[in-house]
Amino acid sequence: MSVLIWGVVFFVAAFFLHLVIWRLHLPRSPIKALVFIFSSVALLGIIFLFSRKLCSSCQYLHIIVLFFSLFICYLLTYSAIDADSPSLVIVLRTSKAGKEGLPHNAIKESLRDDLLIEPRLKDLVEARLVDFNGQIYKINQKGKIFIFPFMLYRNLLGLGKGG
């Protein structure tokens, strides 16, 4: 019982702490900040439980696995919150158009390269997955390591480039 309760309690505490910090000041590197906040809460939580001898060593490990599985899920969802998905934007705009319907050109005119592609290129450079010398974008070693599992998986299943 303690595994479930403490794992969820620590996660909820870290989540609300992150919400408060985001309301006060949005960090420049949100992912790094999230990793720091959630890891700190997990560490402090485990120290608290250890000091009170509330769990066995196996339960500590189980709590950590539960906490970090919830955290990784949130981290993945956060990137969907942070960057708008074009599909979701299209659906929302189509819904707003109501009974009149949304003309095809309206979407193409409003969602251009400067909104859909250029910010993602900038993200790749900021994440240091791609090097940019002012003219040429070039994938670096970190970028190659990052893309490898995606390419391996998609090649194994015979899937195309996606996008």
């Binding site: 309301r23 196996c58 998905s85 009149e100 319907g101 859909l116 003219q135 974008y137 390419m151 996008g163």
Partner: protein, 171 residues
Amino acid sequence: MAYFNILIPILSLCFNILTQIFSYKYILKKKLLKSEYLGCLCGFIFLIVCELALGEGSFKEWLFLVFANLIIYACFSYCYFTFINMGETARRIRLLRELYDAPFGLTQEEILKRYNAEEVINIRMSRLLNNGQITLRNERYFVSSPIMLSISKILVLMKLIVLGKESEFEK
């Protein structure tokens, strides 16, 4: 045996992955989404069977432990689902693939020739039309299924709660 309990969601995920890949290639005629659902279901059944086989201690303790492992497995499955979908739809992954295929790098113009907003919109539109999320009548699009719309509204709500704005396109 208690330590083995922690491994059960991880083993269930492995079973999920193997079933998903096998069913995609050999059973479901390359239907990606259906293979993801089948893999997830098989992993879930594997987890329940393992928990029933290893069940020890009081029923209440066992039930809470199973519930904790179900949450961990659901999280792992969600991560795997996202991994597959990122490869399928994420713009950053597609851009990295284009750059991977160009050992000497690319200028922004060259990148936009290979992958641009028009292609993104065309791919998304055909996907939404094929999945029945939107319909096309008289050169105009209409929402035809509430599923994507509901997901979009939930994400907008989460954006408002976490970031305090509705869209990254907001100025």
